[in-house]
């Protein structure tokens, strides 16, 4: 049981690490704000979630697990909202938006 916990936790943590790597790669690879933000959001939600699940498996059933779960909930609430605000600001302030993406005329 103990080594199963160890293996599962390690697998989750390593997956999270790989996702963080992809995030950093994407942030520096893409050129436009919205694309880069999209790449960064992968790490903020999926990467953090997976690595914290790995830590939860390591700690077992106790109060710390509940705290980690609350951290995941908090980050999943706050990170998409901040990305949404950044994208809204970009859409509101960039005067040449149609160079980068299709704009729906209203």
């Amino acid at each position: 049981m103990e080594w199963l916990q160890f293996v599962l936790g390690t697998v989750f943590l390593l997956t999270g690490l790989v996702i963080f790597g992809i995030q950093i790669f994407g942030v520096f690879r893409f050129h436009y704000v919205l694309n880069r933000m999209h790449a960064a959001a992968i790490g903020d939600t999926l990467g953090l979630g997976v690595s914290l699940i790995g830590l939860m498996i390591f700690s077992g059933w106790n109060f710390v697990t509940l705290k980690l779960f609350l951290i995941i909930l908090f980050l999943w609430c706050s990170s998409p909202v901040s990305s949404h605000l950044v994208s809204r600001l970009e859409a509101g302030t960039n005067e040449r938006l149609e160079e980068h993406l299709e704009v729906e005329e209203k």
């Binding site: 520096f28 908090f74 609430c77 909202v81 949404h84 605000l85 809204r88 600001l89 302030t93």
Partner: protein, 320 residues
Amino acid sequence: MSRRKTNKEYEHTFAFRFFRWLNGEKDPYLNEVEMKPQHYEGPSDETKAEWEREHKEMLERVYDTEHNALLKFSRIAYRVAAVLFCIMLVAVLLITVSYLPPVGNPNNPADNVVAERYIEKGLKETGAVNIVSGMILTYRAFDTFGETNVLFIATTCVMVLLMLDDAILKRQEVKNDRRFEPKNDAILQVIAMILCPIIFIFGIYVILNGHLGPGGGFSGGAIMGAGLILYVSAFGFKSTQRFFNEEVYKVAKITALCMYGLIGSYFYFTGGNGIENHIPLGIPGHILSSGIILPINICVGLEVACTMYAFYALFRRGGL
């Protein structure tokens, strides 16, 4: 030397780009990643020339630099004195360093009984389970009082520099490019409605729990300040001013500082004169225990929360 690939094919490979980057021939981010220099509109050349002319005129007319013997002497004396002062400072510091005890010596003054006493008798004397909290708020309460004063003075200075009148604020609102900021965002408001109470409760928990576990006034106050900032960015300054305006800010901040001063000075006075103070220590581990630590933590928390929020509001808009 034989090449399997032609030069043109080689230019498409990873190795070519890697070595080009390694030799510094081309910056991979130049012209690729979005980078715009900031446009700065400084004063025009005419204004600069006028400034220069005024400066020269002032020097000539007021100081009469050509014929003022005292000014000439003081300039030379100032330079000589500056050089001498620097040399003396260097000498004093070097001599002090040469008197420092060697690292790792067990007889060093740093390895004295103080640290041992904190660990061994800290729980009994302060009643705080969290030794760090007991240390900074009882043994070293004077030091922490200074820190709290620093926060107070810092916000006061920022207020002096950045606070604007309401009329100027209204005029700026039209001109400012802040009007492009997403205001009254529905998603942010819903999330803030869910998160703000939780953040406040967590901040209060951290403050009240400062003597029982990790936490205390500084960290809890920072959390509460972050909650206030989230509330402001979601609902705007108008709705925040219903419960946190300048009056509330002033009252909370000054009351907190004065309370800390009063409690602290009572504690120092009785402790310094060997009189028994009448603040009960309570049972270690209970929420109402450990004497002056809990009220002081509350004061520090209020102070820090106000400071955080005031900095944000003043730098963003120039008013609370």
